[in-house]
Point group: C2
Chain length 138, copies 2
């Protein structure tokens, strides 16, 4: 399938997220990490670096955002593009999901409507959908 719009799809990465695994291991006496060390910021930096090293053109762009209102299930990313369903994915970690987040974004960018068939979703992130929003203007 090919995208029907010319604007690039976006992989929005929450840079204020803490990973849910990190949050679960912290007790209430642990001070929150400063913004520069937030798990979401680390994830954003790592994926941006990975994208910058690619020789081939990429069908999507990475955008840092502050809070996707999915704080209990971070790290969080949102896939969006004009005319497509928007998706929020959660419970992501840099160690387990980095490579598959980029594969997912590529599949999303190349889809017609934002809906990636189950079997075409990278396996490690298949079950990480938090919610989706219909395209605007349909």
């Amino acid at each position: 399938m090919t995208a029907t719009t010319t604007a690039k799809a976006r992989l929005n990465i929450c840079v204020t997220c803490r990973a849910s695994s990190t949050a679960a291991s912290q007790n209430s006496n642990t001070p929150p990490a400063p913004a520069a060390e937030r798990d979401g910021k680390v994830l954003y930096d790592a994926l941006s670096h990975e994208m910058a090293t690619r020789a081939d053109p990429v069908a999507f762009e990475i955008v840092p955002v502050e809070c996707l209102s999915n704080c209990k299930s971070g790290c969080s990313v949102a896939l969006s593009a004009a005319g497509k369903w928007g998706y929020v994915y959660g419970n992501l970690s840099i160690n387990d999901h980095s490579a598959d987040i980029l594969k997912l974004a590529e599949a999303y960018a190349n889809s017609d409507d934002g809906i990636i068939p189950w079997r075409e979703r990278p396996e490690t992130v298949r079950r990480n959908v938090i919610a989706r929003i219909p395209p605007i203007g349909n």
Copy 2:
């Protein structure tokens, strides 16, 4: 605040949802309700009926959608509009939230960017945000 776009905002209501309260009370031997009796469909019908009886013009439209991928926390609705943050709300029930869902959608439609200040959100639905997605094209 006034909306900066001319297109109406949308209150998308998942008509395939079961209420999380209903799901929790069902055991595995209970057959699923047919689509016509789904909690989300009942919510959609009720809110559509309420909207149809209003004399004043309304700043948003109600749209039925199939699945917002928030099945564990239904009923679910999504607020969307061109140029605004999109929001998914969950754990909604027809008895507890119907009136405030419409107030929320009105506030959303009248906002500039889709972000409704905490104090201006109807109280019963304040804590029901599941996730949000940045506006496209910013």
